[in-house]
Amino acid sequence: MSNDKPAYLTILLALLHGIAGVSILVISSWFIAISAIAPLGFNYVIPAVVIRVLALLRIASGYASMWVGHNDLLARIAKERLLVFRQLENNQIADKAYTTEALAQHTEELAGKWIAWVAPLSSVIFIFSGLCVTAMYFALPGTFFIVALFVTWLAAVVVQGLGALTIANEANKANKQFRQQSADFFNRSAIWHLDKSMVQSDAAASNPKSNKIPSANQVWRYQLAQKAKAQSAAWWFQGIAFLFVTLVMSGVLPVTSAFVFAPVAIIVPMVLLAAPDWASTGFLSVSKFAQYKQSVGVLKKLNATPIKQYRDREIKHSLSLIQYSAKGRHASMVNASLPAKGTVCISGASGCGKSSLLQSIIGLLPATGQREIDGVSMPEGMVTNWRYVEQEPIVLSGSVSLNLDPAGNNISQHDMSELLTQLGLKEILPLTNWVGKAGRPLSGGEQKRLALARAILAKPPVLAVDEPFEGLDSYTQQKVSEVLNSLSATTLILVASHTTPDALNVKTHLQLSEANTKTLLHTKCATS
């Protein structure tokens, strides 16, 4: 999905590292072989120096390739993620925890392309072809075998690659299935005790298939199979390399070379013998390649639904809802006229669609029916300056002030601290305090109030709050009510709640009925 610059340096250093390794092996074996027969006037200093230089080169390139590779990897991960994040601007993705975690994983896979499989594979190919060319050029004994081994390696990589792709595909499916099954399974945990087949499985664990407990077996099997595939490819390659060593050394094929018993003749068998060590890394890389392909596919298919945004006029008199309901949910149809300012309390049993109604009014969920401002109907989409506070609010991992001002609108520190104090959140001050995942954990009630403060500070004309009083003690409920009361002078506040504290001044009650279509609307005199 991104056509970025290849990591040349990473590849080059990996190549250097590999070449230096093989060269040391070849030159040292040749060196001691030639030393054994020591022709007169043999200059032994140069090869000895070359060996030492190669050793230093290998060490240096090893360190450098590690450093450069990881530096590059980290930079690429950051880049990939920013790219994905930017693309998701004003989008919603299916809100499942593993989707986001998986995205982190997949972007990592994508960024690791060069270091994980391109560099190792290309370095093995380069070394192999270099060896073949050298062997043919010097017509070394056993040249045929080294070429044959290269062909074998290529064939093995292709075969393994195709297999690995299928397995990765299957593994992905199995993973998805397990996620689905286990999510259902865990969501049912409160009624496990009623399920006879589960309770009995405790007594007779010998028959695990009979019950409905899901198993990750399939997922693991594919993962093991992927590993086993790489291992077996490496194993067959090793077998063939060893076979070729034996064949070369036994002299089965008559050799017509000038170097039959010369010291250089030792080189090809040495290379063949060591081939499983330096060429097998390729097979591991192939599995990585398959994972990479999977990740590319997943990121391509990432289905995000865009949220349309637009700015709407100020509400002068009323906001009317006509035959209004969130799309696709079994929520009641609502006909109501809401005042331009003041608190509207939406009540009803849980599951009757309070939350989805709120979200659809703000425009975060698609809806059927009409929204009208002062009799003029509104287009579909989210109104940019209306705010919604979730039932389970999101706290960003960051400082309190970042959480209160996520858009960077330079809201004054004073306003922030004052509002938090009013909401009884003094204990999370100072504003530089780190909250969220990596910081101070906040209780459910604290999260609610922090999110409420965030929304209030944005000074919206319409504020929708989902269950603001759940999880708060009566004293804090009163504080929150007071804040909402003072805000209601300037703002239309929609509160979805199954309890209404006495301290909250409610202008209008909107009762969502259990039955599907009836909606009762009581309008109380706004005297309280």
């Binding site: 000895a48 190669l54 920013l82 989008n91 999510a183 005790h193 589960m198 405790d202 590993k227 009803g348």
Partner: protein, 608 residues
């Protein structure tokens, strides 16, 4: 900058040993067999090197083709190496599969015995990660990392012995310059450990920041904060990357030291042998090409296995992370809490109808493994001096949210370690009714079989017959993600589920907490009517008529005891009772005064 938390706990190896013996995983045996096969394979390779260098000697020095015997030796040795390598691969794969299976079975046993009390403490995502990844991380470590760890010690010794045998001078030199086993174990252990841990942590942090903002997408869209957050994300990751690279640059050095020694050992040995053959160096016994080549081929084995260990070091870091989550779960498998004597077959009729007679009743934390068997008794989370329940009793359980009502119910049903529990199985009705995605029939039956008549009758009893009549396919209508049920209706469905079972004890954990008052009243009436013949323990902080009950229990955090029978106005769902980290002990108090006052009435009620 990047701190590592080293909690005070059992080491991984020790834990692994305990796991192995407690759950008969057969880790030790498979570890040993893999090590033996792998070492034999490498030993056979070293012998193969001998024949290889013999042939080289013939070729280069004697200018003759290879001897038949040498070729035969070479092919046999390489063949053995190859076959044994294959065996090792297979062994490893099979062992992993079977250990994973066993661990999974134990895990499902834990789920079955602890049920909702355990599962409700974490998100579904947490459990999935634990199941899929942590079990695998442990297995990988136990069957791959540890095998390699042992091989990395044994093989260098083997190689060194051969080198000593061939040429003591080189062997001695290697031994001095490379204090192989201890030093390198430390270098690999500490160096690679630091490297991988830091790298691991850095990637985790980057990932968690990314997922954190991804999870907040709708909010960011609502607040038009996306661009600002993109900028922040960019800055944060750049910052983190530079810091990580600074740390990792040093950590890489330790890895390179190993590379340095490995490469230099080969280079220097090659030069030494070459010079000895040339006669430039005359230290120790004279050397032949055969010996020299054999040594040269064997030297890399000194360090290559250790480097392989470094490559899979992340397995250890992952296993450590897994241990933290898995250890408390797996230590729970054998029910460590000894149940005190109760519900024994008694003679007098009063005792016969007694379901529970608990004195000094204690409830413990789920996660703490050392309950009673460890010698030190862990502090109880909840305590009651005496609780008695007879058949047909109706108990009202009151207390603030978070006081421990759910805790007590969990303990009574046996989902949580405690000193007493009901012998009979019970039916739970929870705050949030569970509706599974299957059909209405599946929702009611849950793998049992009931006739249609029974099902319809149960639905009639809970006043759902009109709802049923409206369903397009009746009992076979599939519930979707958004079932056509209001909160009250869903709760009725779970009541119907309870009615179908013949368990006579019902635990009601605030079944009406999320309903508006009118519905609460209707549903409470219904529960009361249907539960007439059952033993009820009803936790509620919404008002219920006190003449429905004959026992009143109230739960308070800390020692002070409240005599109020019910509280309203505090609507918090007490979902975090088990994980509350305060040390306050909940105390259950049987409130007698109300029993006395209303005793007559409730006796009357029980007759119906």
């Amino acid at each position: 900058m990047i701190k590592e938390k080293v909690p005070n706990r059992q080491t991984l190896t020790q834990w692994c040993k305990d796991m192995d013996s407690a759950h008969t995983l057969g880790l030790r045996r498979s570890l040993m067999s893999q090590v033996v096969v792998k070492c034999l394979s490498l030993f056979s390779l070293i012998i193969g090197f001998y024949y290889f260098s013999n042939i080289a000697q013939d070729w280069v020095v004697n200018k003759t083709p290879a001897l038949q015997s040498d070729v035969a030796g070479l092919s046999v040795c390489l063949g053995i190496t190859w076959v044994l390598q294959g065996v090792a691969n297979r062994l490893s794969c099979q062992a992993k599969g079977s250990v994973l299976n066993k661990l999974e079975q134990k895990l499902s046993k834990v789920f079955v015995s602890r049920q909702h009390a355990l599962v409700r403490q974490h998100s579904v995502y947490y459990w999935q990660t634990l199941w899929l990844q942590h079990l695998q991380a442990f297995t990988d470590w136990a069957l791959e990392y540890r095998v390699q760890q042992t091989i990395a010690v044994v093989v260098p010794l083997l190689a060194l012995t051969v080198i000593f045998y061939v040429n003591p001078v080189i062997g001695f030199g290697l031994l001095i310059t490379l204090p192989v086993v201890p030093l390198f174990m430390i270098i690999v252990g500490k160096g690679a450990a630091a490297l991988h841990r830091k790298h691991f942590v850095a990637l985790e942090r980057l990932g968690s920041l990314f997922t954190d903002r991804l999870a907040a997408l709708p909010m960011l869209a609502n607040f038009q904060a996306h661009q600002r957050q993109t900028v922040l994300l960019k800055e944060a990751s750049e910052n983190l990357n530079t810091r990580t690279m600074r740390v990792v640059s040093v950590a890489f050095l330790s890895n390179s030291v190993l590379d340095f020694f490995a490469t230099l050992a080969v280079a220097l040995v090659a030069v030494f042998i070459g010079f000895s053959l040339l006669g430039e160096l005359e230290i120790g016994p004279s050397i032949t090409l055969q010996q020299g080549l054999w040594v040269l081929l064997t030297v890399p084995l000194l360090l290559s296995e250790m480097r392989k260990l470094g490559q899979i070091y992340h397995q250890k870091a992952q296993a450590e992370a897994a241990q933290e989550e898995l250890a408390p779960l797996y230590s729970n498998v054998p029910n460590t809490v000894l149940l005190q004597s109760h519900a024994q077959s008694a003679d007098n009729p009063e005792e016969m109808s007694r379901l529970l007679d608990a004195s000094n009743f204690n409830v413990f934390d789920l996660r703490d493994p050392a309950s009673i068997n460890g010698g030190h008794v862990q502090p109880a989370l909840l305590n009651a001096s005496s609780l008695k329940i007879s058949k047909g009793d109706k108990v009202l359980l009151s207390g603030k949210s978070g006081a421990g009502k759910t805790l007590l119910l969990e303990a009574l049903s046996g989902q949580r370690p405690a000193t007493h529990k009901f012998e009979q199985s019970v039916v739970w009705i929870t705050q949030h009714p569970v509706i599974t995605p299957g059909t209405v029939r599946e929702n009611l039956c849950l793998n049992d079989n009931y006739s249609d008549d029974t099902l319809v009758k149960a639905l009639q009893n809970v006043e759902l017959e009109t709802w049923l009549a409206l369903l397009p396919y009746g009992l076979d209508t599939v519930m979707t993600d958004y079932p056509q049920l209001s909160g009250g209706e869903a709760q009725r469905l779970s009541l119907a589920r309870a009615l179908l079972r013949d368990e006579s004890i019902w635990l009601l954990d605030e079944p009406t907490a999320h309903l508006p008052d009118e519905q609460h009243n209707r549903l409470a009436q219904l529960i009361k009517r249907l539960g007439e013949s059952k033993t009820l323990i009803w936790a509620s902080h919404k008002a219920l008529p006190s003449n429905w009950f004959n026992q009143f229990w109230s739960i308070e955090k800390k020692a002070s005891i409240s005599h109020e029978k019910s509280r309203s106005g505090d609507e918090k769902g007490d979902c975090d009772v088990g994980s509350s980290n305060s040390n306050a002990v909940s105390v259950v108090k049987v409130v007698n005064s109300i029993v006395n006052k209303k005793g007559g009435l409730s006796e009357k009620e029980r007759k119906f």
